[in-house]
């Protein structure tokens, strides 16, 4: 299998071709991890970079993400079988009372793009549901989004739920959405705030790498 071909197929969003190439790689005995990292994830990183440099739009990126997912779906059972862990688990959602999800979806998409397993709770999520999901799946990171100045305080309430449950320190909590800023993030004791999805993914990746580096 040609890694460059695979990369181009992901970038152009050719799901069928991606599937074929991944299958081919597996058959050729290339290590699953290598196909995942150097094949899929690195290709998606190129897509992310092109987006950051204003060369492509989100729709193009979404198509690529779907192609990557297609490849991933072949690798996943094998990964579990060989005991390779995904790079990390992330729970994400928009807070109670808030129906905005475009930004949150982009964050989720970018996080998937860097290889994490993402559990998307959707919109209008009850405070405690974040805690329950994080506990259930053994998440590394919890991402909380809010777009209204009147729902922004609910981000703080979610964090309070984590505290109440005595599990605040188990999770790296990231927050975002248009009205949020660093000062607010600090005031509610979040671990990280970023102003856009690309940075969010980068920051999450760095966190996961340092968490699992030892």
């Amino acid at each position: 299998m040609d890694f460059e071909e695979l990369s181009l197929a992901v970038q152009k969003g050719k799901a069928k071709q991606v599937r074929e190439l991944v299958n081919q790689g597996v058959e050729e005995g290339i290590s699953i991890e290598k196909i995942l990292n150097e094949g899929l994830i690195d290709s998606m990183a190129v897509v992310g970079e092109n987006f950051k440099q204003n060369k492509i739009y989100v729709p193009e990126m979404l198509v690529a993400a779907r192609a990557m997912s297609a490849g991933l779906s072949i690798l996943e059972p094998l990964l579990t079988a060989t005991g390779v862990k995904p790079i990390g688990k992330i729970v994400i959602g928009t807070v109670r009372g808030d129906l905005h999800d475009i930004g949150k979806n982009l964050v989720a998409m970018m996080m998937k793009g860097m290889g994490a397993t993402v559990y998307d709770l959707g919109i209008d999520v009850p405070d405690v549901a974040f805690v329950e999901k994080a506990e259930e799946v053994g998440a590394d990171i919890v991402c909380i989004s809010a777009l209204l100045t009147t729902t922004m305080p609910a981000i703080g309430d979610v964090i309070t739920e984590f505290e109440k449950a005595g599990v605040r320190n188990k999770y790296h909590i990231m927050v975002g959405g248009a009205p949020v800023n660093q000062a607010f993030a600090d005031s509610i004791g979040a671990n990280k705030y970023t102003s856009n999805a690309a940075d969010a993914a980068e920051v999450a990746k760095a966190y996961l790498e340092s968490k699992y580096s030892n």
């Binding site: 739009y57 129906l99 009147t150």
Partner: protein, 458 residues
């Protein structure tokens, strides 16, 4: 359908100007919208906070502070008229008594200023469309719709001048379409679902208005076209897609006027220009002075034919001079003054054209707002009464207009946009010209957990 539009409201594009329109609207206290002068429309909202029973006293005191600040500034600067918009936040519509109470506070304070200083003002009451709190949305019944009706009725009884809404019928499937720049689904949402909901909704709102002495104002496809504009501004989706999204919201918007609304239409509805061309109703608009609420490539051109000039929304935060809503008010007043002085000097048309020229060559979303383009699109729309065909043909015509402008080098677009002109064209080519056939196709394609066809009668 109470009205049909088969031709434009103007015979010459030169007559379509700001501050006046063929069918002006007059409030109880005699403020005429579209009667010759353009007035500011000010909108303001809460700073970051929870809205609960316990915080309601604080909420009320913030609204009191805001309306006093605004009215004081209007008085100081001798503005001849003012519209205040109160757009509720979701909690306030879910608890109609809260929204009604805030509206009453605003309305009463405005009346006080009128009694004291002769300051003529009107209030636009805009409950937000909470029907989408159910997923999939329940459009024509249920607790959310009932709460909305209560809010409309309660505020109309308390003297609301204009009833408005930014309704969301069809949006539940359009949201995902937007990030995919999926014009096919957008045509379905805006051409098939939205007009059906609008016809039903505006018949109801107009009935409430009539029964309670209020004026049936107008709608905005903000959740469609402005969402696209904001995403395009951030470089997420192509501007040419956002430009087409703008024009194809017009058939949807017409459904309000066809079913009882008389204007002024909503500020953030930039499709208002097509609406004004077709129906002659007064419109509100917003641009550079609404940069506090959203950035845009249409800062000046959006004022070209406006009858009200708005700041969209700003929170009660302190800037160096004072609170942000007062800052917006001052800016809007000066914008309007300049335009009205031009009118007094017989220079409305010239000022309009300068506003247009300011932006129209720099972005496709601005280009499609040119009055001559509005005329072209309006003429296409009134050829048929079928909202779906109107939508589809508008999309095709808009794409054509943009392509020609690019070819003529009259309009500059980014490299990565060019590609999308073709993608969008082939998307449109694949849509059948028969609504029934199209609906049948889309019923198969669209995730049926997202929306409820029967709520649209399809």
């Amino acid at each position: 359908m109470s009205k049909q539009f088969t031709k434009l409201a103007y015979s010459s594009v030169d007559d379509m100007i700001y501050g006046s329109c063929p069918n002006p609207v007059t409030t109880r206290n005699g403020l005429v919208i579209g009667g010759g002068e353009i007035y500011p429309e000010v909108n303001f909202t809460l700073p970051p906070m929870h809205i609960t029973k316990d915080t309601m006293p604080e909420v009320l005191s913030i609204y009191q502070e805001m309306i006093h600040g605004v009215l004081k500034k209007v008085h100081e600067l001798h503005a001849p008229g003012l519209v205040v918009e109160f757009e509720t936040l979701p909690d306030m519509t879910e608890h109609p008594e809260w929204g009604i109470q805030i509206h009453k506070l605003l309305r009463d304070t405005m009346s006080d200023y009128e009694a004291k200083y002769g300051l003529k003002s009107a209030i636009r009451m805009t409950p937000n469309d909470i029907r989408e709190m159910s997923r999939p949305p329940i459009m024509r019944s249920g607790k959310y719709w009932e709460a909305m009706v209560k809010t409309f009725e309660g505020s109309a009884k308390d003297g609301a001048d204009f009833l408005s809404i930014e309704s969301t019928g069809g949006k539940e499937i359009n949201d995902e379409a937007i990030v995919n720049a999926d014009l096919r689904t957008s045509v379905f949402a805006l051409g098939c679902l939205a007009p059906r909901d609008m016809a039903w909704l505006w018949t109801n709102i107009s009935d409430i208005a009539r029964a309670n002495g209020a004026i049936s104002g107008g709608d905005s496809a903000c959740g469609f076209a402005n969402t696209a504009m904001v995403l395009a501004e951030q470089g997420f989706i192509p501007k040419v897609y956002a430009a087409i999204m703008r024009t194809i919201t017009t058939p949807r918007a017409l459904a309000a006027i066809e079913n009882g609304a008389v204007g002024p239409s909503k500020d953030c509805a930039y499709e208002n220009i097509y609406l004004k061309a077709i129906t002659g109703t007064p419109i509100s608009s917003e641009g550079k002075t609404a940069a506090c609420a959203h950035f845009s490539p249409i800062g000046n051109i959006s004022a070209a034919v406006a009858d009200l000039w708005s700041n969209e929304s700003v929170q009660q935060v302190k800037l160096l001079s004072g609170f942000a809503p007062v800052v917006s008010t001052e800016q809007l007043i000066y914008d309007c003054r300049l335009m009205n002085v031009a009118t007094r000097k017989g220079q409305t048309k010239l000022m309009r054209d300068l506003l247009v020229e300011s932006d129209c060559y720099l972005d496709p979303q601005a280009y499609v707002l040119r009055p001559d383009v509005a005329f072209e699109i309006g003429k296409e729309i009134v050829k048929t009464q079928d909202p779906f065909i109107r939508t589809l043909n508008t999309a095709k015509l808009t794409l054509d207009i943009i392509k020609k402008a690019v070819d003529k080098k009259e309009l500059v677009i980014e490299e990565r946009e060019l590609n999308w002109l073709d993608i969008l064209e082939s998307q449109l080519d694949e849509i059948p010209e028969d609504e029934e056939a199209f609906i049948a196709e889309m019923k198969k394609e669209v995730d049926s957990s997202k929306y409820n066809p029967s709520e649209y009668g399809i």
